[in-house]
């Protein structure tokens, strides 16, 4: 288990009324089937959210623990499950460099519980997910994520941590590419 950075909410510093990033005192752990009951009750999709967000909730509830090699659980001081992330190995080929093929990671899911959304927690979750990736294999530079084209909050969250190179996956999704920060 790892303790995430905690402390006071980040201030904008200039008095402007911009949303502040809330740094919660979260604990990161490798999720196992012992976490299954909490995952099965995880809620990140509102009543009127589109199908691609419902899909994320379904995936966290029923699949991620059994399908993805590395799944992380983020819990608050009361032990409540606040967020989930998961990643798997992926090869990224860049034909204009030598070697062409590079071992990287693919983010299968990053989800924040409904009641903790819009609190700018995503950067904290991403940073800790990157930390877990480095702990497993620090040599992997690239990270990818498949995101629905209209999922603005997800694309913005990825962009904020440098996952912003994109290539189409199909008519609905894009593949975002970035790097796992070196520290």
């Amino acid at each position: 288990m790892a303790k995430l950075p905690s402390g006071q909410p980040k201030s904008s510093g200039d008095g402007a009324r911009v949303p502040e990033a809330l740094y919660l005192d979260l604990t990161r752990s490798i999720a196992t089937l012992a976490d299954d009951a909490d995952f099965a009750a995880f809620c990140c999709c509102g009543d009127n959210d589109p199908a691609w967000i419902e899909e994320v909730e379904d995936y966290v509830r029923g699949s991620v623990l059994r399908r993805v090699e590395h799944t992380l659980a983020f819990r608050d001081g009361q032990g409540d499950l606040i967020a989930v992330s998961a990643f798997a190995e992926r090869v990224i080929r860049v034909p204009i460099v030598d070697p062409v093929a590079h071992e990287g990671w693919h983010l299968q899911v990053v989800a924040i519980s409904l009641e903790h959304q819009r609190q700018r927690l995503s950067k904290q979750i991403f940073e800790q997910t990157f930390a877990a990736m480095r702990e497993i294999d620090a040599s992997r530079v690239y990270v990818t994520a498949n995101v629905h084209r209209e999922h603005r909050s997800s694309r913005k969250a990825c962009s904020e941590v440098g996952i912003d190179l994109w290539t189409p996956l199909d008519d609905h999704y894009v593949v975002l590419l970035g790097e796992v920060p070196s520290s």
Binding site: A34, W52, E55, S63, H172, S182
Partner: protein
């Protein structure tokens, strides 16, 4: 159980009686990774897994999968405590192993080798062989204690259900997307080839990180 002052392992109850129709592939998808995690220790300190379903055919299918892979599962008709305590081992046990498991149950679900030797009228080495086999099969959990107390052997069917998981109607990955007419597979991890501007910037990342030329 659990008694105070002891660290007991977890028991998982998986209730499949929620009305979902499990195809053979879906059942395998559920059962096999779970069993592999238990055998590898990745599931944590899990002493036993009891699958619950009133569907006898589904119980038989779980038993077949467990036997094929050597998973330490039990199957029961319902989550009622009596049904769970009478859950059937998916592994085939010989008469001696069955007798030993029943003896542990008569002791309330946990017993030392000395207690079992007394109740089964056996010598200690014979009991040790039996409980060692059951422990190796994953059907009995061994709790190490000091030499004077002796190790205790636990029948996981008698543990409190620390983890209770309901697998009634969990959707398959992609099902919400397909219902909305979106055929994408967002979980695809096949090799990705980048080109154009993305490739240029990807190459720049590698050069900066000293991972490519």
């Amino acid at each position: 159980m659990p008694a105070t002052g002891r660290i007991w392992p977890r028991r998982l109850l998986l209730d499949l009686s929620g009305g979902a129709n499990f195809t053979p592939a879906a059942l395998e998808e559920l059962v096999v990774p779970l069993g592999q995690q238990v055998l590898s220790g990745a599931a944590g300190d899990v002493a036993g897994i009891v699958f619950i379903t009133p569907d006898e055919a589904l119980r038989r299918a779980i038993v077949a999968l467990a036997q094929h892979h050597g998973f330490p599962f039990f199957v029961a008709r319902s989550r009622q405590p009596d049904d769970v305590r009478n859950a059937v081992s998916a592994q085939e046990l010989n008469p001696a192993e069955s007798e030993t498991l029943e003896a542990i149950a008569r002791h309330g679900g946990h017993a030392t080798a000395a207690q079992l030797a007394a109740s089964l009228s056996l010598e200690a080495p014979a009991v040790n062989n039996r409980v060692t086999n059951l422990t190796r099969l994953g059907l009995v959990y061994k709790v190490e204690r000091n030499r004077r107390q002796g190790a205790e052997y636990i029948d996981p069917r008698y543990l409190d259900p620390d983890v209770f998981v309901v697998h009634g109607a969990r959707p398959e990955p992609g099902s919400a997307l397909r219902a909305a007419g979106i055929p994408s597979d967002p979980y695809d991890t096949s090799p990705l080839e980048v080109d154009g501007e993305a490739a240029e910037r990807a190459a720049e990342i590698l050069r900066r990180r000293g991972a490519g030329t």
